[in-house]
């Protein structure tokens, strides 16, 4: 009985949280795509500066991580493929797993660490110092002013970062292929590209857009839900990271199942 009501309560809380996330993402999308046609112009400058922060500044660390991931993938694939004398397939294995799965996922995780946490900390601090209230009293919607630029920056930059991550991963795989599996750089890259279908790339990019929406919604919601006091900012930042990783994996699962069913 006790357990049943606890599970019931947990499910209800979970659904309420999902509802808040959807509502926040919906309002951010409204100010991004609908409101500009109703006389509430989009502040492009804010979007661009967010895009720089979310996207461009993430490139060095993302490149390094995905290069290593590509290298690790190649090593792991080679470990099995070597037994069958099928080292040629290393390129294919790395290319497909990077584009369909690991590219978008690793990118999302790097972006959660860099930007999802920063969103929660920034908005949480503004909540604690009454800056969010100040926006409201100035008749400026905090969603329009703070969330929408992040939302737009994320849904544009995450797919771009993902493409970059895929390339760096393939490059990482290639460095193994050239050193250990008698590939030349050109042949490795050509084999990788030929092994990919457009749908591999597209499914990965669709996932990355969904990840972008998820990370923004969770980060900003946790920020906006920050209670009173400075220590609450730390708590909401932590929660934003943990929740984002969890939600990204859930979204990943849903879309992977979906693509599997429709044969994507």
């Amino acid at each position: 009985m006790e357990l049943g009501s606890q599970i019931g309560g947990g499910v209800l809380n979970g659904l309420a949280y999902l509802g808040s996330l959807t509502s926040l993402a919906g309002r951010a999308a409204y100010f991004a795509f609908v409101a500009p046609f109703r006389g509430k112009p989009l502040r492009v400058q804010r979007v661009v500066s967010q895009a720089l922060e979310v996207g461009v500044r993430a490139l060095p660390i993302l490149s390094l991580i995905t290069f290593f991931i590509g290298l690790i993938l190649a090593l792991q694939a080679a470990y099995e493929l070597r037994k069958f004398g099928a080292m040629d397939l290393v390129a294919t294995a790395v290319a497909v797993s990077m584009t369909r799965e690991l590219g978008p996922l690793i990118t999302a995780i790097v972006v959660i660490g860099r930007s999802g946490s920063a969103f929660a900390a920034e908005i949480g601090t503004m909540k604690v110092t009454e800056e969010i209230d100040a926006l409201e009293t100035m008749a400026i919607s905090p969603i329009q002013f703070l969330v929408t630029p992040k939302f737009l920056a994320m849904i544009v930059m995450l797919p771009c970062l993902t493409i970059w991550a895929n390339s760096m991963g393939i490059l990482g795989g290639a460095s193994f292929g050239v050193a250990q599996a008698d590939f030349t750089w050109a042949r490795y890259i050509r084999t990788s590209v030929e092994s990919l279908f457009l749908r591999d790339l597209v499914t990965g990019l669709i996932k990355s857009v969904m990840f972008g929406i998820t990370i923004t919604a969770v980060g900003c919601l946790e920020g906006l839900n920050t209670g009173a006091g400075a220590e609450q900012v730390g708590k909401s930042t932590t929660r934003a990271v943990v929740m984002s990783i969890f939600m990204v994996v859930v979204v990943d699962l849903i879309f992977t199942v979906l693509f599997f069913v429709v044969g994507g």
Binding site: T125, E130, E131, E136, T137, I140
Partner: protein
């Protein structure tokens, strides 16, 4: 003050509260507040910590929804209007927050210019001139390129006032204007409020528990206690009041329970001099 009221076209009150009740969850914070604020008047809302005065202010600017009652501002009941209508009224209001609430990621100038950039179609050069003017009015000329973190507490307060004034509001709200400031800087902020009042004939509503400041700037005062209006009146009426709660507040007498505890402590130290010594700060 009355002569000024005669001059305004609309002689009705700028703001009226009718049986305003506000609750957080099951707990009612304000139990039916009634008062009017006339145009051009400076009303000080006095009250102790936890009296509900801050909740009252937050409700007046639309940050909290009342559970029942009416709040009439400029002929509209803001308890019932839509979000868009509220935003229109908010453009005619300015609010200076207790902790200034300047945006830390923007310069002082960008802070002050923000409402103008968001709500008007003015050219950048015009906005530049206006923001210089606003900063000059609050005594911060030349500080537009500073970040809020580079300013002292008093300067941040002034910058916040400049931002609240950006849209030339008809009503200006202050939440604890002298909180966290030393007496000299706090007196400077009081002076600034008086200057605003004289120069722009704005309706000003100030929430504070600083008696000296309250008696200096107020035309009328409201004392709120435990979510109820204890007294509303002029400074003289407030000073002359015999109501125990008003006397206790103005004469700074501790709560009886607290006083008993003090009594015990003072028996230990055999120092009874400081027990219940009146001598609250009286306004000039």
């Amino acid at each position: 003050m009355d002569a000024e009221n005669m001059e305004s076209v609309d002689s009705g009150p700028m703001l009226s509260l009718r049986d305003l009740r506000v609750s957080y969850g099951d707990r009612e914070i304000l139990h039916g507040i009634n008062f009017d604020v006339m145009p051009g008047e400076t009303l000080v809302i006095l009250g102790g910590s936890g009296s509900g005065k801050s909740t009252l202010l937050r409700t007046l600017v639309g940050l909290e929804k009342p559970s029942s009652g009416e709040i009439w501002i400029k002929g509209k009941d803001i308890a019932k209007i839509s979000h868009d209508e509220m935003d229109e009224i908010r453009k005619r209001m300015g609010m200076s927050f207790q902790g200034s609430a300047l945006f830390g990621s923007m310069t002082v100038g960008e802070n002050v210019a923000l409402p103008l950039r968001e709500h008007t179609k003015l050219e950048d050069s015009t906005i530049e001139i206006m923001l210089r003017l606003k900063l000059e009015q609050v005594g911060l000329a030349g500080f537009e390129y500073y970040m809020p973190s580079q300013l002292s507490g008093g300067m941040m307060k002034r910058a916040a006032v400049a931002r609240a004034m950006a849209m030339d509001p008809e009503i200006l709200f202050f939440d604890e204007p002298s909180a966290g400031l030393d007496p000299i800087i706090a007196a400077g902020i009081d002076q600034l409020i008086l200057e605003m009042k004289k120069a722009f004939r704005m309706t000003i509503i100030v929430v504070t528990h600083e008696l000296a400041s309250a008696f200096l700037i107020a035309d009328r005062m409201v004392l709120i206690d435990k979510g109820n209006v204890v007294l509303i009146g002029t400074k003289e009426e407030m000073r002359a009041s015999k109501q125990p709660r008003v006397r206790q507040f103005l004469d700074r007498i501790a709560e009886p329970e607290v006083a008993r505890e003090l009594d015990y402590l003072q028996m230990l130290t055999e120092d009874r001099r400081s027990l219940g010594v009146p001598g609250g700060k009286r306004g000039t």
